[in-house]
C-alpha cells in the first residue's frame, strides 16, 4: 500500500511538472511529450509499471478494507470521530473517485476514445534539422480544458487528489516508521504542502485556459 | 493443630542459605511430572508461576480477572524497598531487616524478615533485567526515594506506578511460560474450595465466571496467592473484586489463620464523598516526602478555604509530634494522628473527615515541574476524582483500609498448617508483623514468588509421589457437591436484600468497631451484630439470575458470605489481643499522649485461629516470637 502509494505520489508530481510546461508554449510542451514517447520500450515499460502500481494500490486497498470490516463487524450505535482528519476518513471515497477519474483521463487523453478528433491534431517539430510530425498535445489539452464540464470535473478530482495525498503522504511516513511526536507536525505539514502543491500545479492549467491566459494556437 | 515454624538453626544471616542447602531437590527430569496449582496472578502468584514453570514444573494458574495482568498488585504506587545501598547512606540487609521488624512493631518472625531483606536486592536485579522501567538518574543508574519508617533512601520506583510496572514484569515472565505451554492459565475462574486428600492439599474447585461451570482440578501441591481481605470493610483501597474466599475456605479446611486483626489503615487516601462510593483511592505514601500534613489549630477555622488560614494558625501535627520522622512517620502512626485531629473536630472537607496534605512549600522550593515529574500521575488521579488541583490547593486526605498483615499462617517454608498448601504474598501473615512499612508489600510478594517458594516447594514435592491424584477421587466429588449446594443455596433464598447492601452494613460495623481504633465494648458489640447480618444474609439475600451464567451478583454474594465469617474472626482476634501493636490499636492500651502500648510479656506471639465449625468460636493457638537480633524496644519515631 505504502510502496505503491509512494510510486503513484511521485508520479503525479512529475506529471504535474510536465503539465506545467504548457506555460512555456506549444513547442516546448509538444517537444517534451515527444521525448517521453520516442522510445516505445521505455514508454510501455513505464506504463506497465504505473499500471502495476495502480492495480496494487487498488487491490491492497480493497483487501485491507475487507479485513478491516471483518475485524469490526458491528459498529457502535453512535460512531464518533474525535481525532481523525477529514482527509483520513475520506480515503475510500477520494480513492474511488480518483480511480474513476484515472480511467476517464486515460480514455480521454491517452487512448483518446472519448474525443476521436484529438487523433488528428498534429504539430511539426524540428529535430536535428529534420522536420518531424508529432501529436499536438498542446492543442489537445487546451481544447479539452476549454470544455467547461471537463475542466470542472478535473478541478474537483484534483481536489480529491489533494485530500488523498495529504493523508496518504503523512500516513506513508507512519507506515515506513520515520515519524515520531517531534516530527509528526512537520511531516504532516509536509504532506499538506505536497497535496496543495500538486493541486495548484494541476489546477493552474485548466484555470489558465478558462481565464483565457492560454489560448488555442492561431 | 500443630504449630511448628520450622525455623532453621544457626545465626540469622545464615539461616536461609543453610536451609536452601538442606532442602531436598527434585531432579530436573522429574519436575514436569509434578503438577502445581497456583491461585492468583499478582506479584506473588505471577512470579511464582513463572519461576516454577521455568524450573520445569507443570503449573496451572487461576485468576478471577479477565487477564493475569490485572491483579491488584498493579495499583501499588510508591515503590519497592531493597537493601542495595546505592545511595551510600548506611543501608544494609541488616538495616532493612531491623527497620522491618521494628516497623512491624515486633510482631513478625525474625527469620522470615531477614530472608526478605536478603533477597530484596535480587528482586531489583531481576525486575531491571525484565525491562521494568525504574526511575533513573541522568547518569543512567537507578534512582531511589525515601519512604515511611526508614531513614535511608532505599525505595526503587517507576513514577507513581511501581506496582503496575513490576506486575507487568511478572506478567511478561508468566506470559512467556503460557506461550511455551508450561503454564496453563485460566482467567475468569474463581477458586471456591480446597480439596484435601489424606490431609494434604491436592486440588481446588473453581467456578468459571463466564459459564458458571463448577470444576475440580487436581495437583501435587496448591499455592494460594490470593491477596488480602481489606474489602471486609466494604470500602477500602482494594479492587472491588478482591476477596477472601480462597483463604477462608482453606481456613475452614484446617489451615490456621494468623493475626486476622492486623489490618493496615493507610493514612493518605482520598476522603469518602458519599454513600454511593464503591472504593477508596490511595494517594501514594511517597507524597509525604514533599507534602506537609496539617489541620487548622482552631476547629472554628475548618470551614475556611485553606489559603485563608495563615501559617501560624495551622497545626503541622506530624512534624509537631514526631520531629525526627515528621511527615514520614509510619502508616499506623500517621493514620491515628489524622483520626485524632478529626476526632477533635479539626478535620476538613465534607463530614470533617479529612486533613490537608500541602505541597505549597515543595512547589516553591523545587518548582512545579519537579513536583509534576515526581507525582504528576497522582495529582491527575486526585483531580479526576475530586475535581480539585493539588498544585493550587492542598489535597484532602483521610486514612482508609489498605492492606492486611494478617493471613493464613505459614511456616518458614511458606507452608500452611495443611501439608501441601502454600500461601504467598499478602495472603499469608509472615513478614510484616502488626504493621507493614511502605514499599514492602511489593518486596514481599516478589520475594515469595521469585525466590522463596521456588526454593521451598520442591522440598515438599520431593517427598510426594507425583501424578497419583486425579479429580475422579471421592474427595473431589464431595467438595464439588458442596460447592454446588452452596451456590444453589445463595440463589434460592430470594429475599429482599442485595449482596451490596448487606456488605455495606458489614463494612460500617467493621470500620467503626474494628477499624483504626478498637475497644472491648465495641468489639463485643461487633461480635453481636455480625451474626445478625449473617442471619439476615442467609434469610433475606436476593441474587437474581442463574448459576450457569455470568452472574456478578452471585459472585458478590459468595464473596460476602466469606467476609461475614472473616469479619467475625477479625473481631475475635482483636478482642483477644488485649494490647496495642502496629495497626491494632486498642484504646485501653495507650500512653497519655495517645501512643500504642505493647504488652510484650503477654502478646509477643502470633495468634493462630483454628476453625471449629459454623457458629463455634474458633480456637486460638500461639506461635511465640523470639526477638534475638532486634531486641524488643518501644517503637519510637519521635
Amino acid at each position: 500500500m505504502a510502496l505503491s502509494g509512494l510510486i503513484l505520489a511521485g508520479f503525479v508530481f512529475v506529471h504535474m511538472l510536465g503539465n506545467l510546461q504548457l506555460f512555456l508554449g506549444q513547442e516546448a510542451l509538444n517537444s517534451y511529450a515527444y521525448k517521453l514517447q520516442s522510445i516505445p520500450a521505455v514508454l510501455w515499460g513505464f506504463r506497465a509499471f504505473l499500471l502495476l502500481a495502480t492495480v496494487t494500490h487498488v487491490l491492497t486497498a480493497i483487501s485491507l478494507v475487507r479485513e478491516n470490516r471483518a475485524a469490526r463487524p458491528k459498529p457502535n450505535a453512535e460512531e464518533k470521530f474525535i481525532q481523525a482528519t477529514f482527509a483520513s476518513r475520506g480515503m475510500g471515497l477520494t480513492g474511488a473517485l480518483l480511480f474513476a477519474f484515472i480511467v476517464f483521463h486515460v480514455l480521454h487523453y491517452t487512448v483518446r476514445i472519448t474525443h476521436p478528433e484529438y487523433q488528428d491534431m498534429h504539430y511539426i517539430l524540428e529535430k536535428n534539422g529534420k522536420e518531424v510530425q508529432v501529436h499536438d498535445v498542446f492543442t489537445m489539452m487546451v481544447s479539452g480544458f476549454t470544455e467547461k464540464w471537463i475542466s470542472g470535473t478535473y478541478i474537483v478530482c484534483m481536489a480529491m487528489l489533494c485530500l488523498h495525498l495529504t493523508h496518504g503522504v503523512s500516513s506513508l511516513f507512519q507506515t515506513i516508521g520515520i515519524r515520531n511526536t517531534a516530527w509528526k507536525s512537520r511531516l504532516d505539514g509536509l504532506a499538506i504542502a505536497y497535496g496543495w502543491t500538486v493541486f495548484i500545479g494541476f489546477v493552474s492549467v485548466p484555470m489558465a485556459v478558462l481565464m483565457g491566459v492560454i489560448n488555442l494556437p492561431g | 493443630m500443630i504449630i511448628d515454624a520450622k525455623i532453621p538453626a544457626g545465626p540469622i544471616a545464615e539461616k536461609w542459605s543453610r536451609h536452601k542447602f538442606s532442602n531436598k531437590l527434585v531432579n530436573p527430569a522429574n519436575r514436569r511430572k509434578y503438577h502445581v496449582i497456583i491461585v492468583g496472578t499478582g506479584l506473588a502468584g505471577g512470579s511464582a508461576a513463572a519461576t516454577l514453570a521455568e524450573q520445569g514444573y507443570n503449573v496451572t494458574s487461576f485468576c478471577y480477572q479477565d487477564s493475569p495482568r490485572r491483579a491488584h498488585s498493579i495499583a501499588a504506587q510508591g515503590g519497592i524497598n531493597a537493601a542495595k545501598n546505592y545511595q551510600n547512606d548506611g543501608d544494609s540487609i541488616h538495616r532493612l531487616f531491623y527497620d522491618t521488624v521494628k516497623g512491624g512493631d515486633f510482631r513478625s518472625r525474625e527469620a522470615n524478615v531477614h530472608r526478605l531483606a536478603e533477597v530484596s536486592a535480587n528482586i531489583i536485579d531481576q525486575c531491571a533485567a525484565q525491562g521494568v522501567p525504574f526511575a533513573r538518574e541522568y547518569g543512567g543508574l537507578l534512582a531511589n526515594r525515601s519512604f515511611g519508617g526508614a531513614q535511608v533512601s532505599r525505595t526503587f520506583y517507576a513514577r507513581g506506578a511501581t506496582g503496575q510496572q513490576l506486575l507487568l514484569g511478572a506478567y511478561s515472565a508468566l506470559s512467556r511460560q503460557i506461550g511455551l505451554g508450561t503454564v496453563k492459565m485460566y482467567n475468569r475462574h474463581e477458586m471456591l474450595d480446597l480439596v484435601l486428600v489424606d490431609g494434604h492439599a491436592k486440588g481446588i474447585v473453581t467456578r468459571n465466571l463466564v459459564t458458571g461451570e463448577i470444576k475440580s482440578w487436581a495437583a501435587d501441591a496448591v499455592v494460594l496467592a490470593t491477596g488480602g481481605y481489606s474489602n471486609a470493610f466494604y470500602l477500602s483501597t482494594n479492587a472491588v473484586g478482591c476477596n477472601s474466599i480462597a483463604t477462608m475456605r482453606a481456613y475452614k479446611k484446617g489451615a490456621g489463620f494468623a493475626n486476622p486483626c492486623y489490618t493496615q489503615i493507610h493514612p493518605t487516601c482520598i476522603p469518602q464523598s458519599g454513600d454511593h462510593q464503591s472504593k477508596l483511592t490511595l494517594m501514594s505514601e511517597s507524597l509525604r516526602n514533599d507534602g506537609r500534613v496539617w489541620v487548622p489549630k482552631d476547629a472554628a477555622d475548618c470551614e475556611k478555604p485553606p489559603e485563608q488560614i495563615p501559617e501560624e494558625a495551622r497545626d503541622y501535627f506530624l512534624e509537631r509530634k514526631y520531629p525526627s520522622f515528621g511527615n514520614l512517620a509510619p502508616r499506623d502512626i500517621a493514620s491515628r494522628a489524622a483520626k485524632e485531629a478529626c476526632d477533635e473536630g479539626r478535620g476538613v472537607g465534607p463530614g470533617k473527615r479529612g486533613v490537608y496534605l500541602d505541597f505549597a512549600d515543595a512547589i516553591q522550593r523545587l518548582g512545579e515541574s519537579a513536583i509534576q515529574e515526581r507525582y504528576g500521575n497522582l495529582f491527575d488521579i486526585y483531580e479526576r476524582i475530586t475535581g480539585d488541583s493539588a498544585y493550587r490547593k492542598p489535597m484532602r486526605i483521610y486514612p482508609a483500609p489498605h492492606y492486611t498483615m494478617g493471613g493464613l499462617w505459614v511456616d518458614y517454608n511458606l507452608q500452611s498448617t495443611i501439608p501441601g498448601l502454600f500461601v504467598i504474598g499478602e495472603a499469608n501473615f509472615s513478614d510484616h508483623g502488626a504493621n507493614r512499612l511502605g514499599a514492602s508489600a511489593l518486596m514481599q510478594g516478589l520475594a515469595d514468588g521469585y525466590f522463596v517458594l521456588p526454593n521451598t516447594l520442591p522440598n515438599y514435592l520431593a517427598g510426594e509421589k507425583p501424578g497419583i491424584i486425579n479429580t475422579g477421587l471421592d474427595a473431589f466429588q464431595e467438595v464439588e457437591a458442596d460447592v454446588n449446594a452452596f451456590t444453589e443455596k445463595l440463589l434460592s433464598i430470594n429475599g429482599t436484600r442485595t449482596p451490596r447492601s448487606l456488605h455495606l452494613d458489614l463494612g460500617r460495623i467493621m470500620w467503626e468497631k474494628c477499624g483504626m481504633a478498637r475497644n472491648k465494648a465495641g468489639l463485643e458489640e461487633a461480635l453481636r451484630k455480625i451474626p445478625e447480618i449473617r442471619q439476615e444474609f442467609w434469610a433475606n439475600l436476593k441474587v437474581t439470575g442463574e448459576g450457569k451464567q455470568l452472574n456478578q451478583e452471585l459472585e458478590r454474594a459468595g464473596r460476602l458470605a466469606e467476609f461475614l465469617d472473616l469479619a467475625e474472626l477479625m473481631c475475635h482476634d482483636a478482642l483477644d489481643r488485649d494490647e496495642s501493636c502496629g495497626g491494632h490499636f486498642r484504646e485501653e492500651h495507650q500512653t497519655e499522649d495517645g501512643e500504642a502500648v505493647r504488652l510484650d510479656d503477654d502478646f509477643a506471639h502470633a495468634a493462630i485461629w483454628e476453625y471449629r465449625g459454623a457458629g463455634e468460636k474458633p480456637t486460638r493457638h500461639v506461635e511465640e516470637l523470639d526477638f534475638k537480633d532486634v531486641p524488643l524496644a518501644v517503637r519510637s519515631y519521635k
Binding site: - | 487477564s67 479492587a239 472504593k279 455470568l550
Partner: protein
Amino acid sequence: MNLKLKIWRQDTSDGSGQFKHYEINNVSPDSSFLEMLDMLNEQLVESGDQSVAFDSDCREGVCGMCSLTINGIPHGGHQGTTTCQLHMRSFSDGQTITIEPFRAKSFPVLRDLVVDRGGFDEIIQAGGFITCRTGSAQDANEIPIPKPLADDAFDFAACIGCGACVAACKNASAMLFTGAKIAHLNSLPQGKAEKDRRTLSMVSKMDEAGFGNCRNYGECSAVCPKEIPLDVIAKMNRDFAVASVKGFISK
C-alpha cells in the same frame, strides 16, 4: 442528577443483543460512572431483574479491566481517563447516555457489556517479554540506561491493556497496544537481543487474532487513558520492516 440510560443487553456470547432503556434518579455528581451503574444494578436486583454485567476491578484507572463505550467513545472521551475514573459531574442533568460494549470481532461480547480481551494476552505471550530466567540477572546498575530513554520506556510501558484503542478504531486495529509493548521492550538495552524475533512474532499473532489494520486515524491514541503516543506504531512498523528485511536476507 436524573439520567436516561440506553444500555446494551446481551444474554450470551452467541446470542444477539439489543439496547434497553432505563431511568435513574438522584445520582450524585461526585459518584463515578461505575458507581452510577452500581446504583442502577441495585435497583434492577431489588425489582427482580438481572443486573447489567460490566467489568471493573481496581476502580482507580490502572488495572485496565473496565471498558464501556459511552456515547460512542471508549471510556467516555475525557483525556487520559478510564471509565472508572469518569465522574458524573462530567454529565448534565437529564442527559441520555448510551452505553455499549467495546466492539470488535476479536473482543467477543460475553454478556451485556463484558467482552473477552484474550487476544491481547495472546499477543504478549507471543513475544511481549524479555527472556530472563529468575535468578539469572546481573546487578541492576550494570546496564546504565539514560534517563530520557528510561522515561520514554515508561511512557510506552504505561499501557493498561484495556482495549480502548481497538474499540475506538473503526478497523479494530490493535497496533497501538502491540506497538506500545514493542516500543517499550525494543527501546531498552535489555530487550535488544530478542528485538527482531519479538517484533515479527507479536505482529503475526496480532494479525492472526483478527485485529484490523491501521489507517492512521489516530483515534486509538486520542482515547487511550494512558495517552500512549502514535509514535509506537511508527516504531513498530520500522522494527517490523527491519526485521523482515533481515529475515529475508538471511534466508
